[in-house]
């Protein structure tokens, strides 16, 4: 396998990094926590990139990584990584084309009462939980047993936002309308779309972990105690190395999984579970050790560290946490 980025992939990464660093400063993330409308200008810049959801997983993952590195709020992930691919899976071409063109936002409602994003079988619970950005998007795609897909306007649903640790990604609970039926959704295509979204979310987590590692290394260099930078102490250095190692292997696992999905490789199911578990591990590790290294200043509301810590833990939970994906891996390995 070859991890060398093509010119086009390098361009996606560079463009995403420059765009998101500029248009998604911490001030916007904080303003969004108080009023979700504050993320609207960011969406104005990101809507033209929703089309990546139709392309190779590698490219979307590169873009998502940069979103994670600025803990970008708003409907980009829900629209590009979940809604658009699920519309395609159901063959809803007309609506999918409009979404790819950046004309509408949407999300997918799949997890039942237990909060697990399980595609086989799709839950018959009368409720959908952990629906990303459900209270802000234009359209919601309800995955129903069968599987079937029912796409409705947000206003037609009784949506209840649910507060989580993470103020940068909104989630909501909504009831499934009684007697709801949708169009047929091939089970395999649904599973593939969710697996792909899982890898893209893992890429986001890697971006979040990257910020945490870089910020902690930078702080280790500049914070002086006992007349020297704390990053010169072995006890601090070794924590940083272990964080960075988990980040490096998660990054590699995510891009391997993206390549395996794009190639339809038989290893892709294991690779996706490895990617999400490794990314969750890396992000949680970086959040905890990053807090320890920043110490007092990191524990303050003013410092941005907690924005990343919150995103790390909530994104680990979404689409299956470390334990969920270890269980899935065990099923694939041991039957």
């Amino acid at each position: 396998m070859d991890f060398t980025l093509t010119d086009e992939q390098q361009m996606v990464r560079d463009t995403a990094r420059a765009l998101l660093q500029k248009e998604c400063p911490p001030a916007l993330v904080r303003a969004h926590a108080d009023d979700p409308a504050a993320a609207a200008p960011l969406w104005g810049h990101l809507r033209e990139w929703v089309v990546l959801g139709d392309g190779p997983t590698t490219d979307l993952a590169l873009f998502a990584e940069e979103c994670g590195a600025v803990v970008a709020p708003g409907p980009y992930f829900a629209t590009a990584a979940l809604f658009l691919p699920v519309l395609r899976a159901a063959g809803l071409t007309e609506e999918a084309d409009a979404v790819a063109a950046g004309e509408a936002t949407g999300t997918v409602a799949l997890a039942g009462a237990d909060g697990r994003w399980c595609t086989d079988p799709v839950t018959a619970d009368p409720v959908r939980t952990f629906v990303p950005e459900a209270d802000g998007v234009d359209r919601v795609a309800l995955v129903l047993p069968g599987p079937e897909l029912l796409v409705v306007d947000r206003a037609q649903l009784d949506i209840t936002p649910v507060a989580t640790l993470d103020t940068s990604r909104r989630v909501a609970t909504l009831p499934v309308p009684p007697g709801a039926r949708g169009v047929s959704l091939p089970a395999e295509a649904l599973a593939a779309a969710i697996e792909r979204a899982t890898v893209v979310l893992a890429a986001e987590l890697v971006g979040t972990a990257r910020w945490l590692v870089e910020a902690s290394v930078a702080y280790g260099r500049e914070r002086i105690q006992f007349d020297r930078p704390i990053g010169s102490f072995q006890a601090v250095q070794h924590q940083l190395v272990d964080m960075a190692l988990d980040l490096e292997r998660a990054t590699a696992a995510v891009y391997y999984a993206a390549m395996a999905l794009d190639a339809g490789d038989p290893d892709r199911h294991r690779a996706a579970a490895v990617a999400k578990a490794a990314a969750g591990t890396a992000a949680r590790h970086a959040a905890k050790s990053g807090m320890q290294i920043h110490a007092g200043i990191g524990y303050t509301w003013e410092h941005d560290l907690h924005l990343y810590l919150r995103r790390a833990y909530a994104s680990d939970d979404l689409l299956g946490d470390v334990t969920f994906h270890h269980d899935r891996l065990a099923d694939l390995l041991l039957g």
């Binding site: 070859d2 991890f3 060398t4 930078p229 070794h238 190395v241 960075a244 490096e248 292997r249 590699a252």
Partner: protein, 391 residues
């Protein structure tokens, strides 16, 4: 980014497989977990096998044919190392000659010394490398074995320890202190000498591993006289030779670490099935977590290779020795755990898989010490990769 290889690279792999099918002796087909050169020296099969590899251009394939290779590309070297690891094939039972001394002589040696490179890589000359000393372990630059020059010769006095293959080596690639300025930094004033192991004044005392195997030794030098032309490179400037291991294969050094972890993991899965533990939720999660680490580290090795092949440094690879050696320790520890009360049994008739798990565990304990301890690895990554200030 892509998953597949070009036709030329697949053809290279096919040639290698055909060669191994035809020539590889059964004794060479074993996981490295079990390999320890025995006290008697290099067995006949190992001598013949290394020479066969060399003569067919498969010993160090990135080298030209006269040095046991076929001028292959860096990616092909990676495929080569991967295939050997996948089949559990060992090239040699002593890595000093082909991996360290041969390449170092080619880079730093004079003409007569460079002529030793080919027989060293072929295994005709068996080398030990004299580095560690009682007071120079992780702090290698602290070495104190002294060589005093008197024009025609050096006279060497001192002691080496943990010297692999010393009990049966023909020659020693020996790091000695030649500098006389006590104010100079420690790593200045070190030189490298080629010392014949049958020179009077050398005493080798084999050291037994905790596994029971004998592979390394203490080597004592008492007024050992070494001709002046055995100096490799410049006087007092030998420190840079410590970096002279097989640069051609540096992009693939991680392969065996990952392969060894994969073998241990495969063994754990088989063990769990045999013991009926594959339905135990705790064991399932332990195995899955292990798989996650092995798979992600393999991906990291490849990712680093992409940087390496482009000629840039590969920070990813700085993590690999640390990560894979620590992982193997965890995996063998888990193996002992899965065996329950039988984990500690060594009686041959009762020990699981001929003692694979306790033996592999013991060997894994050495892997986080030898070749730079895990602590030194972390220090190196901290300063060279993360750019943190030195402590």
């Amino acid at each position: 980014m892509r998953l597949t290889f070009d036709a030329a690279d697949e053809a290279f792999r096919a040639d290698l497989r055909a060669f191994l099918d035809e020539h590889c002796p059964p004794e060479a087909r074993r996981g490295k977990d079990f390999v320890a050169a025995d006290e008697e020296g290099v067995p006949d099969w190992a001598r013949a096998w290394q020479a066969t590899l060399f003569d067919h251009g498969w010993m160090v394939p990135s080298f030209p044919p006269e040095l046991g290779g076929r001028n292959c590309t860096p990616l092909q070297t990676l495929l080569y190392l991967e295939e050997l690891a996948a089949q559990g094939v060992v090239r040699s039972v002593h890595f000093g000659g082909y991996a360290i001394v041969g390449p170092s002589l080619l880079e730093f040696g004079n003409e007569a010394q460079r002529a030793l490179a080919a027989p060293s890589i072929r295994g005709d000359i068996v080398w030990c490398v004299g580095m560690s000393e009682p007071d120079a372990g992780s702090d290698l630059a602290n070495l104190s074995t002294r060589a005093v020059a008197d024009g025609e010769t050096f006279v060497v006095n001192g002691q080496k320890v943990w010297t692999s293959y010393a009990p049966f080596a023909d020659k020693c690639f020996c790091y000695v202190r030649t500098g006389t300025d006590p104010e100079a930094p420690k790593h200045k004033g070190i030189s490298v000498l080629i010392i014949d192991m049958d020179t009077p004044g050398i005493e080798v005392r084999p050291l037994r591993h905790i596994t029971g195997a004998v592979e390394f030794a203490e080597v004592f030098f008492s007024d050992v006289v070494v001709p002046a032309d055995r100096l490799v490179g410049e006087l007092d400037n030998g420190w840079r030779i410590t970096m002279g291991s097989l640069a051609h294969e540096r992009g693939g050094l991680w392969v065996e670490g990952v392969a060894g972890s994969q073998r241990a993991l495969d063994g754990l899965v088989a063990l769990a099935r045999r013991k009926g533990l594959d339905a135990d939720p705790t064991v399932r999660r332990q195995l899955a977590a292990a798989y996650e680490k092995v798979a992600s580290l393999r991906a990291l090795g490849y990712k680093g290779f992409a940087s390496f092949a482009q000629g840039s440094s590969a920070p990813e690879h700085s993590y690999m020795k640390l990560a894979t050696s620590e992982l193997r320790k965890e995996l063998f520890d888990l193996g002992l755990d899965l065996l329950g009360p039988y984990g500690s049994v060594t009686a041959p008739e009762l020990a699981e898989e001929g003692g694979r798990w306790w033996n592999g565990f013991f060997i894994s304990l050495a892997a986080t010490i030898g070749g730079g301890t895990s602590e030194i690895q972390r220090n190196t990554v901290a300063t060279r990769v993360l750019g943190l200030p030195r402590g």
